[in-house]
Amino acid sequence: MLTVIYPFLKPILMKHFILLFTVVLSTVNHAQNKTINAGEKLVFTASYNMSGILTDIAQLKMETSQVKTSRSTLMRLKCTATTYKKWDNFFKIRDLYESYVSPKTLKPYLYKRDISEGGYYKFMQYKYNHKAKLVNSLKRKKNKKGETWDEKNTFNIGTNTRDIVTTLYHIRNLDIHKASPGDQQEFNVLFDNKENTIVVKYLKKETISTALGKKECYKLALSVKGSDVLKGSNSNLLWLTADNNKVPVYAKFKIAVGSGELRIVSAEGLKH
């Protein structure tokens, strides 16, 4: 019986085997960190576009540092957002996003999001357990009286699920020079206790002028699968320098309430 149906099953089995092999290979092969250095500091200006006029709203910083615990040495990836003085009376933002990763593989172990936006406070923490493929999350919120309450959760994650901060750095660590225009890759990102899929598409190489000078860049398009947070197709763009540092120098985004952009102001402590 089996010998009769085997010729028919063979192509299907082969197809599944190749697929399985690719999945296993991609999960086992953790990319080595060739791009990010501890001590790196990138400063950006975020602007909001209203009827063609750009207004500077906030300063964004992406910093990396070395953190030593009693058992190991990790890298801290820290992103902060601070509104400019003139906005503080209207809508004060003081956001802190941080992730503690392995300096060799950029594998995340702890993620924290501590945000304060115009009187709204929220704290999120993800503790990764890679062996059990689990994440212990802690959500802390404040009510109007200033009292805080905690909400604890545990949920399963995929092998390649990362938080938003680690994903940003992971994208920089990709071998984009090996990709050809039109190639795309999906990333599972954990945000607000939910796994989202971000699709990153490599569009082309483009030379743009930045505060760091004229730079040849990789132009990438970002989108979130099954969500309309980011509007339009190919309207959320990211430019990474086409060198070994892959510094994000410029980004354009389109959301429900308008569009904006991120421009680099300075870059220090780059690896290459």
Partner: protein, 109 residues
């Protein structure tokens, strides 16, 4: 026709003044231009009809106020960030707390 320009001009001039006060002062340029053009149109129509263009004074007054505010803000306000003391404090607290948590996590090198 004149009435349309008067209403349009007034609305634009008020909007320009409101925007000029807020941090969105550079966006006030658009209603300033609209109000100014409306004012000129009222002046032109009034001259044609040989009537007195009273309202234009108010429109131009508002335009001048918002324009001077916008220019002043554009020149004086530098892009400096506000106080970050609280953020720095939270940053330090989080770092200390994180090191404690990371001590308990198994880290594969």
């Amino acid at each position: 026709m004149k009435k349309v320009f008067v209403i349009f001009g007034f609305l634009a001039a008020i909007l320009a003044t409101v925007l000029a006060v807020t941090p969105l002062s550079n966006i006030a340029i658009i209603p300033i231009i609209v109000a100014f053009v409306s004012g000129l149109m009222i002046l032109y129509i009034s001259k044609k009809e040989e009537s007195k263009p009273k309202t234009i004074q108010y429109i131009f007054l508002l335009v001048i106020i918002s324009l001077s505010l916008t220019i002043y803000k554009g020149l004086s306000s530098s892009t400096e960030i506000g106080d970050t003391e609280q953020l720095e404090q939270r940053d330090e607290e989080n770092l200390e707390d994180s090191i404690d948590i990371l001590d308990d996590i198994d880290i594969e090198e």
